[in-house]
Amino acid sequence: MTEQNLVEVRNLKKWFPVQKSFIERLVTRQRQFVRAVDGVDFDIRRGEVFGLAGESGSGKTTTGRAILRLEKPTSGSVWFEGENISDVNGEALRLKRQRMQVIFQDPYASLNPRMSVGDAIGHSLEIFGMAKGIEKRTRVMSMMERVGLTPMAPLYEKFPHQLSGGQRQRAVMARALIMHPDLIVADEPIAMADVSVRALLLQLMMDLKEEFDLTYLFITHDLATAKYICDRIAVMYLGKIVEMGTLQQVYSDPKHPYTQALLAAVPVPDPKARRTTPMPRGEIPSSITPPPGCRFHPRCPIAEEICSQEIPPLEPKAGQEEHLAACHLVK
C-alpha cells in the first residue's frame, strides 16, 4: 500500500445467489449467482475525486457498497488506510466506518422524517459518544454554517419535509461531514436535482472537498456531470472495469469500444451536435450468465474471434501507464 492511496480494491467480487423456489432447488442442484461485481481492481488516491461510471446493472453501486462494507465481498479485498476491511467485523468495523460516509441520490429518503434536521446531523456524534447536549448543538450549528444551511437556528428545528431539495442535500452533506471522514462515497448524489440546482450542488461538493480535505468516490451514470467533478474515472460494464484513466484521457481518447459508445450516447444540449455514431446493438446481457471472453463482444462493432474466447486484461494502452483498457484489439 502506497501512502498516496486511501483505498485499494483488489480483485473484488460480489456475487448474489439467485433466489429459487423450493421445487426448483430440488430439481436443479446447481446454484446460480448474479455476478454484480466480478473482479475489479482500482485505487482511490488521497484528495482525488474518483468516478465510477456505468449503466444500471454494471456493478458500480455494489462496488461502492463493498468499499463501505455494506456488502461483504464474495472474494477479493478492500484496503482502507492500509488495513484490509473486507473481513473486519464488530467494533473495529464500526470505528472504520467513522472514516467513511455516504451520500445517496435521494436526500429525502435518507433523512428520518421524524427527526429534526439538527438532530439528524448530530445523530452520529451521539452514537459515537463524541458530543451531546449543548456541545452537540454547537458543533451541528457550526457545520450547518459551513455547508450553507442558513439561517441555522430556525433550520435546526425544521423537519425534512419543510426544507427545499437543495437544503436537504446540504443537510445530508452536513451529516456526512460532521464525523470529519476521509472518504465520501457519493452514489448519484445529484441525479434527482433539477438542472439549476445541480450546478450548485456540484460547486458545493467541490468547495467542501477543499475545506475538509476530502476524497470522493463519485458513482454516476451521467458522464456529462462526471466531467465537471472527477479527476480520474473508471467505466464499468457487467461487473468489470473496461477502461480507467484520468478524465482527460478517457474523455478525449476513449480506447474501449464500450466507452466510445457510452460517451457518444450522451445527449448534447446543442441541436447542431446531433449524434452520428451508431449505437451498439441490444442491451446489457444478464449478469447471471455473462458472455464468455470479453463481456462486451456480442454488442461490439469490432469484435473478432479472440474476443469471445479470452477475457481481455485491464492493461495500459497507447504507452500511457495510467490509461488502462480491457480490450484485445486496442493497442
Binding site: E55, S56, S164, G166, D194, V195, S196, V197, R198, A199, L200, L202, Q203, H221, D222, L223, A224, T225, K227, Y228, Y251, A261, L262, L263, A264, A265, V266, P267, V268, P269, D270, P271, K272, A273, R274, R275, M279, P280, E283, I284
Partner: protein, 320 residues
C-alpha cells in the same frame, strides 16, 4: 407551415391545496403542427406535465382546468363528454409515459396487446392479418419477433418503451404526447430509442409533443421548443435559434447550466435562486427575483408572450 393538430388557448390549471391555490399552468397558448416534434422543457414544478395531462383531461384531482380551450380536430376537448373523450384518448391522441410498465397490461402478451389495438381501430382486419401486422410492427421497432409473445415484465425498459411507440403507430395516432419517455432508460438504450423515434417520425410524419426536463433530448429530437417557468410559457422558437440565441433570461441561464460533454470548460454556470413557491408567486414577471436584467416594470407588470423576432416568441420586457 402545415396545419395545426392541437391548439391550446389561454389554458389555466389550478390545484387547490390546503396551503392555498397553486396555478400550475397560467394562460398558456401553444399550437402543435402536423409532422413536428414540439419539445416542452422546464424544471420540475414548472407545469409541463400538468399541460400534457390537461390535454388528455387526465389531471389528477384536485387539479382542475379553470379556463381556456384545447382545440383538437376542430373540437374543444374541454367540451366533450367523458365517453367522447375516452374514444379519443389513446386512439387519436397516444401517450408515452416515463414508466411504460404502468401503461401495459401485465396479463397480456405484447402481441395480444398490439393485435387487440389494431383490431379495435380497424374492426375489419382479421385476427390473422392483425397478427401479421403486429409482427411487422415489432420487427420495425427493433425487437426480435420471437419476443412478441412475451409478457411486459419479461421485456427490458427500452423494449417496453418501444412497444408503447408501436401501439401509437398501430393506431395511427394524430398526436403522441411523450412525457419523459427516456428518463428511466440507460444512456445507450436512450440513444437507441431516440434514433428509432426519429426514424419513425420521419417515416410516418408523426406529430409528437415531447415533454422533458432533459435539454439534451430536446436538442436531439425537437423541431420547435417551448420553455416553461412557474406555470408560464416564457419562450417558444425553432430549435436552432432557441439554442443559438435564447432571448428570455431564464432560457439563457438554463442552457448555460446544462452539463455538456462535448465542451472543454470545466465548471458550470450557476443560476441564482430557485423556482418560486406557486402558492405565493412573485408579482409581475415570475422570473424577476432571479433575473439579472430586472427592471422596475418587471416587478409590477407581467409580460405577455410576444413574437419578438420572426417565429421567436418571448415573454420578457427586455424586448418591448
Amino acid at each position: 407551415m402545415s396545419e395545426p393538430v392541437l391548439q391550446i388557448r389561454s389554458l389555466s390549471v389550478d390545484y387547490p391545496t390546503r396551503a392555498g391555490l397553486v396555478r400550475a399552468a397560467d394562460d398558456v397558448n401553444l399550437t402543435v403542427f402536423r409532422g413536428e416534434v414540439l419539445g416542452l422543457v422546464g424544471e420540475s414544478g414548472c407545469g409541463k406535465s400538468t399541460l400534457g395531462m390537461a390535454i388528455l383531461r387526465l389531471l389528477r384531482p384536485p387539479g382542475k382546468i379553470v379556463g381556456g380551450e384545447i382545440v383538437f380536430d376542430e373540437h374543444d376537448l374541454l367540451k366533450l363528454d367523458d365517453e367522447e373523450m375516452r374514444q379519443l384518448r389513446g386512439v387519436r391522441i397516444s401517450m408515452i409515459f416515463q414508466d411504460p410498465m404502468t401503461c401495459l397490461n401485465p396479463l397480456q402478451r405484447v402481441s395480444e396487446h398490439i393485435v387487440e389495438t389494431i383490431r379495435t381501430h380497424q374492426p375489419k382486419v382479421s385476427e390473422e392479418e392483425a397478427r401479421k401486422q403486429a409482427a411487422d410492427l415489432i420487427d420495425r421497432l427493433g425487437i426480435t419477433t420471437e419476443r412478441m409473445d412475451d409478457y411486459p415484465h419479461q421485456l427490458s425498459g427500452g423494449m417496453r418503451q418501444r412497444v408503447m411507440i408501436g401501439l401509437a403507430l398501430a393506431l395511427n395516432a394524430d398526436l403522441i404526447i411523450a412525457d419523459e419517455p427516456t428518463t428511466s432508460l440507460d444512456v445507450i438504450v436512450e440513444a437507441q430509442f431516440l434514433d428509432l423515434l426519429r426514424d419513425l417520425q420521419h417515416q410516418f410524419n408523426l406529430t409528437i409533443m415531447l415533454i422533458t426536463h432533459n435539454i439534451g433530448v430536446v436538442a436531439e429530437l425537437a423541431d420547435r421548443v417551448a420553455v416553461m417557468y412557474a406555470g408560464k410559457l416564457v419562450e417558444l422558437a425553432d430549435v436552432f435559434p432557441l439554442f443559438d440565441a435564447p432571448l428570455h433570461p431564464y432560457t439563457q441561464g438554463l442552457l448555460k447550466s446544462v452539463p455538456n460533454i462535448r465542451l472543454k470548460e470545466d465548471h458550470l454556470q450557476i443560476m441564482d435562486g430557485s423556482p418560486p413557491d406557486l402558492i405565493n408567486p412573485p408579482s409581475g414577471c415570475k422570473f424577476h427575483p432571479r433575473c439579472s436584467h430586472v427592471m422596475d416594470r418587471c416587478r409590477t407588470e407581467e409580460p405577455l408572450l410576444r413574437e419578438t423576432q420572426s417565429g421567436h416568441w418571448t415573454a420578457c420586457w427586455l424586448y418591448e
